[in-house]
């Protein structure tokens, strides 16, 4: 294929879209057509995954900052270019996306029966947008992908969602959009600043890293700009108190939608902070460090508490996401290597475990058409294999050592402790409440006698469902037991990230940081 070496990333990004368009040609009438459509989409996503694995193989952590770069001028008037590149930080998120996509697709084989063609088209289009955002090295391009992501997701929720789907879809869209529009203004300003300082417009992220912006006070340019970006990212994360779109969107979205939303879309926020928010505005990051750590801590506890009393499984998982992503925030803002690595890892973990949780909820939802916790009870008895997988994922979610969740949370808290022990102590209570709400939910759904006669005859996991869940279960343990597999490709990038995010800081780091500022 033409230019596969020079345009490797472009191929990865647009491969799903190619498949999506080709899929439009499949006559999706009737059962056979629908099956063909499903398989075609699955094939597309699998091939994308395959290609992205070769990205993993060829990525050299000791090599250049960004690899596989491509740059094509785009709108030279404003310095926007089509610039792609991968470093350790984007690498794993790309892999997470391509890894989860086939599972989400396979997971919705039987759930989606109407408008099959559109559904899979949108899923693949969504994949392209997500991948695009992860590989963009131009803030304009990033924004384009960032926004382009909204539409397929919006339609996925709105068309194939639950009862309140339209409200949820609208809320999702508008919430995210309002945040990102202010980011857009900030992007304009940055490009303009680049012109003033360097003599030419540029929205290339690497160029923007070199900007000198006045910072250190609340009303300084840097702070305001940072807040504009942070708003967009915080909504996406979602950070308390901007999280209320998430429960609705999650609950209403179809299974695959929830999976992708939780697993990848939320990561955009964290990724945005890492790629744009921190390195461009180092002083503001320092300035707002405490604020965001407090918010993150609140998110952890608040999310856990509110999750505890949710009557709907998906809503519970949604609030648990709020809680888990709160860890990501405090880890990132702890600004030392341990915390940041932990945060990053936590993002991957959350993708795996929450994705799996949604798939599992999808499994019983398909059988029972309800997600009400009180409608269940004693499912373990009827679906023992399901119970086993559910248990494993639950444990991953409560961060049991040996599963992926522990590594992330432990590193985050360890990192954050150095910055602010008091807050970290509060955040650590999340460990307790996390166990409370997850296990309570598990107990109510899986344990006890089978009281509802409708639950008597539920079928256990099918082969297809096993195929979907097995890789996730495997990932839970691999990530929990051998995280170095991930860290080794990540480390140089994280170190560079921290260096960039702390260089301009006015105050020297406290002594406790000393081992990270190398």
């Amino acid at each position: 294929m033409a230019g596969i070496d020079t345009h490797f990333l472009s191929w990865i990004v647009f491969l799903p879209l190619l498949f999506a368009f080709a899929g439009l040609l499949i006559p999706a009438k009737g059962t056979a057509g629908q099956t063909a459509m499903r398989l075609w989409t699955l094939l597309g996503s699998l091939i994308t995954f395959g290609v992205s694995v070769s990205l993993y193989i060829n990525y050299r952590p000791e090599g250049a900052d960004f690899q596989f770069t491509e740059t094509v001028p785009w709108i030279s008037t404003l310095g926007a270019s089509y610039a792609l590149g991968v470093d350790g930080i984007s690498l794993w998120l790309i892999l997470l996306t391509t890894f989860l996509m086939p599972l989400a697709i396979l997971g919705s084989f039987s759930a989606i029966e109407n408008r099959v063609k559109e559904y899979y088209f949108l899923l693949l289009a969504l994949e392209t947008a997500m991948l695009g955002a992860f590989v963009s090295l131009d803030i304009f391009l990033f924004y384009v992908f960032w926004e382009a992501m909204l539409i397929p997701m919006y339609l996925l929720i709105g068309i194939w969602g639950g009862k309140e789907r339209i409200y949820a879809a609208m809320k999702f869209f508008l919430y995210t959009l309002v945040g990102s529009l202010l980011m857009l203004v900030a992007i304009f300003y940055l490009a303009h600043q680049h012109k003033l300082q360097m003599g030419a417009y540029s929205t290339n992220i690497l160029d923007l890293y070199k900007l000198q912006l006045e910072g250190g006070t609340f009303w300084s340019a840097q702070s305001i700009l940072f807040l504009a970006f942070a708003l967009a990212f915080a909504i996406k994360v979602p950070l308390f108190p901007l999280h209320t779109w998430l429960p609705d969107a999650h609950v209403q979205a179809p299974t695959a939608g929830s999976v992708i939303l939780a697993a990848v879309l939320l990561k955009m926020g964290g990724y945005g902070f890492m790629r744009i928010g921190f390195p461009i505005f180092p002083e503001s990051v320092a300035y707002f460090q405490l604020t965001f750590m407090i918010l993150g801590t609140i998110a952890i506890v608040y999310g856990a508490w509110v999750a505890m009393v949710q009557p709907d499984i998906k809503k519970l998982v949604a609030y648990s996401s709020v809680s888990h992503m709160g860890y990501v925030i405090i880890g990132l803002f702890s600004l030392n290597e341990i915390g940041v690595t932990g945060s990053y890892y936590q993002m991957l973990n959350h993708g795996i475990s929450t994705g799996a949780l949604f798939l599992l909820v999808g499994v019983i939802y398909e059988r029972r058409h309800t997600r009400d916790i009180s409608a269940f009870g004693g499912i373990s008895k009827v679906m023992p294999m399901f119970a086993i997988v559910f248990m494993i994922i639950t444990l991953s979610s409560v961060a049991l050592p040996g599963t992926n969740g522990f590594v992330g949370e432990f590193l985050i808290l360890l990192g954050a402790w150095k910055v602010n022990p008091g807050l970290t102590a509060v955040a650590t209570t999340g460990v307790i409440f996390g166990a409370v709400y997850m296990l309570w939910m598990f107990q109510r759904v899986m344990f006890g006698p089978v009281t509802n006669p409708e639950n008597q005859k539920l079928k256990d996991l099918s082969l297809r469902e096993w195929t979907v869940l097995a890789p996730l279960v495997a990932a839970v343990f691999v990530m929990g037991i051998y995280p170095n597999l991930f860290f080794e490709k990540l480390e140089p990038s994280i170190q560079r990230f921290i260096m960039k995010s702390t260089t301009n800081r006015t105050a020297p780091p406290q002594s406790l940081f000393s081992d990270n500022s190398k």
């Binding site: 608040y302 509110v306 808290l413 402790w417 296990l439 344990f447 256990d460 170095n484």
Partner: protein, 674 residues
């Protein structure tokens, strides 16, 4: 070679687990009996017992100062300077633990084959049991805090799984959850302790930490005693959770919902002692902080006393044992808290023997009684279950502190240290001694009510092993729910348990008798053995003579005998008991309801948090944040509705706007003209 110790149970777990998950659990698959899975599991744990023994022997041959075997498996996490290996390190301290875990574990596994013979899913049970052993071994063998924590949480998980093993009974499932959550509260402290250690010392490895401390009592340079105290207390919170100390003991009595072998293994012999292991492992922290020491000792002593008071009135055979366990764990912490770490560890070992024995005996009783657990509905089992009777008697004697049995040595050591050690005090001794009397009393009560006197249930006539197991009637494994037992009181064919179950009892009985000789006063092998790790016992405080030691020992023996005899006297005549109970009704009620601690916790922590969470959700998330969000929409809509009112459709109004605009602008311009 070290890694084989945990690996064997892990392999056992994987075989049984995968076999269960894919071969037995799916609908329509044939269920396996207890035999094969049990054999696999027992074999696995026995294999690791053998390896442990080999390691022990190897250690015996080493120089005391460098008595350790270490193995690094692989690097677990490596971020910047933070570096954790999955590595094992066995030294004098934890070799004892591995031996106890694998040894007692083997016996309990063996016992379980018989006990779980009629269970629906023995495959699952043995898988869990092996998983537990694996985690427990990780806990004691891990060379650094994170690895220890891996095991620490892993045993919590297994405890959770095994307590809620019969999950169709929602109460049991709840008990499991409670155990996990309360343990998590402890883990919270543990985590904070780890964070503080890492941020202070930059390492989490035991050896490195120990080297930083140098010799007993001295603090590393530049570290304030407050930090040490904080670390010690944080970690002790973890121990409170795991080892069921006040205020986090509440899960352990409930944990009796699990199958009895589980209670024996996890909730008596091994897991609950991991707190003592942690404290002794990190003894250098505690010796560095007198405050922390006093807290540990006080909590231990008070827990011991408090649990004993509750144990006196319990009716459930396992609950009595559970509170007794809590009480004994208190002793162990008391020992550690006064600096007698070796005494604490010694008590761990003897306690493992006799408490496992007692639990297994109780299991045998329950098994024989067809799931009856209420001691008031037993009695006279002496003749029906002779082997159980005799072994149980040994266990009871051991725990009561009858001289020359294992419990006597270890308990007495602790009592003496509590009195004589510099950080001890007569008050601690007094509390512990009272507890010893109470222990003797309630254990004898238990023994007496269970085995002596006349049967308080109708004896079914047809003897023989007619296992019309309730589980089979109901078609699912409700069988062991004790609620069913009560209804079946009529006509119980009590039978002695099979040899598979009584054999472990006998072995443990022997151990309970002889296990204490390793700690013969003033010639304690175990104290000597542990000295390189936990440091030597403190010399007695000045003014405490050797004769005093003998006197105190005599007092405690006397106390135990008084307790035993009183109990025998009282519980021979049950009407007398009732009369006495009536006299102190209020006290009895409080004790029977366990000081209402569960209720208080429910009212003070659980309910408020739930209500508050509900309030946060409905009252803040939905009512405030979402309302603000939706409010923006509403305001926009309202603005739109308002603005469109001027759109009257009348063209004159439209034209008037032109005029108005002109006035505005012209006025503005002319105003600005000057």
């Amino acid at each position: 070679m070290l890694f084989w110790i945990p690996l064997f149970p892990l392999i056992g777990f994987l075989i049984n687990g995968i076999w269960y998950a894919f071969g037995q659990a799916p609908a329509g698959r044939k269920k396996a009996g207890a035999g094969l899975p049990g054999a696999i599991a027992t074999g696995a744990i026995f294999a690791s017992f053998v390896v442990s023994l080999m390691i022990f022997i190897q250690l015996l041959g080493q120089d005391p100062e460098h008595r350790a075997v270490e193995q690094i498996l692989f690097n677990w996490m490596s971020v910047g300077k933070f570096h954790v290996d999955v590595a094992f390190r066995i030294d004098a301290l934890n070799t004892l633990f591995t031996l106890v875990i694998t040894g007692v574990g083997t016996l309990i596994h063996l016992y379980s084959i018989g006990y779980m013979g009629h269970d629906e899913t023995p495959g699952k049970f043995f898988a869990y049991l092996n998983l537990f052993c694996f985690a427990m071994l990780m806990l004691v063998m891990g060379s650094s805090l994170p690895v220890l924590f891996l095991g620490w949480e892993g045993v919590g998980l297994c405890s959770y799984l095994l307590i809620g093993y019969w999950y169709t009974d929602i109460e049991k499932a709840k008990a499991g959850k409670k155990a996990f959550v309360v343990n998590r509260i402890g883990d919270f402290g543990f985590l904070l302790g780890m964070f503080l250690i890492y941020s202070t010392f930059g390492t989490l490895d035991f050896e490195s930490l120990r080297h930083l401390f140098g010799h007993a009592g001295s603090l590393p340079e530049g570290v304030s005693p407050q930090v040490i105290t904080a670390i010690s207390l944080f970690l002790f919170v973890g121990c409170m959770g795991k080892s069921a100390q006040i205020p986090l003991y509440v899960w352990l009595p409930d944990a009796m919902a699990g199958p009895t072998p589980v209670s024996a293994l996890i909730h008596a012999a091994t897991m609950v002692t991991s707190g003592i292991y942690l404290v002794s492992r990190l003894n250098f922290f505690y010796t560095g902080s007198p405050t922390a020491m006093s807290v540990v000792a006080a909590v231990g002593a008070f827990t011991a006393f408090f649990a004993a008071t509750i144990a006196i009135t319990q009716r459930d055979i396992k609950k009595v044992l559970a509170y007794s366990t809590v009480s004994q764990l208190g002793y162990m912490f008391l020992g550690c808290g006064v600096g007698a770490f070796s005494a604490g560890v010694f008590h761990v070992i003897t306690h493992a023997f006799f408490k496992a024995l007692l639990f297994l005996g109780a299991g045998s009783v329950i098994h024989g009684m067809h799931e009856e657990q209420d001691i008031w509905k037993m009695g006279g089992l002496k003749s029906k279950m002779p082997r159980t009777y005799w072994t149980f008697a040994v266990g009871t004697a051991a725990i009561c502190g009858v001289p020359l049995l294992s419990g006597f040595f270890s308990k007495d050591e602790i009592l003496w240290k509590a009195f004589s050690s510099p950080s001890g005090s007569p008050w601690l001794w007094f509390l512990a001694a009272i507890t010893a009397v109470m222990t003797a009393f309630y254990m004898t009560r238990l023994f007496s009510l269970t085995f002596l006197g006349a049967p308080r249930f109708e004896v079914a006539e047809h003897a023989g092993h007619s296992h019309d197991h309730p589980g089979h009637d109901h078609g699912h494994d409700h069988g062991h729910g004790h609620g069913h037992g009560a209804k079946k009181v009529k006509g119980i064919a009590v039978h002695e348990s099979p040899l598979l179950m009584t054999l472990p009892l006998m072995i443990l009985a022997v151990l309970s008798i002889v296990g204490g000789y390793v700690g013969w006063p003033h010639a304690s092998w175990i104290e000597h053995w542990l000295e390189p790790v936990v440091g030597g016992g403190h010399e007695a405080a000045s003014g405490v003579s050797e004769s005093l030691e003998w006197i105190l020992m005599g007092v405690s023996v006397l106390g135990a005998l008084i307790g035993i005899l009183t109990s025998f006297r009282v519980y021979r005549n049950l009407s007398l008991v009732e009369a006495m109970t009536r006299n102190v009704q209020w006290l009895h009620k409080i004790l029977e309801n366990k000081w209402y601690i569960d209720e208080i916790y429910e009212a003070v922590f659980v309910r408020p948090i739930q209500v508050f969470s509900q309030l946060l959700w409905k009252g803040f998330d939905v009512a405030v944040i979402d309302r603000i969000v939706v409010g923006f929409g509403r305001v926009s809509q309202w603005t739109g509705e308002t603005v469109r009112v001027i759109q009257t459709g009348s063209l004159q109004v439209y034209a008037l706007m032109l005029l108005a605009g002109l006035i505005g602008t012209a006025g503005f311009l002319i105003y600005g003209w000057h």
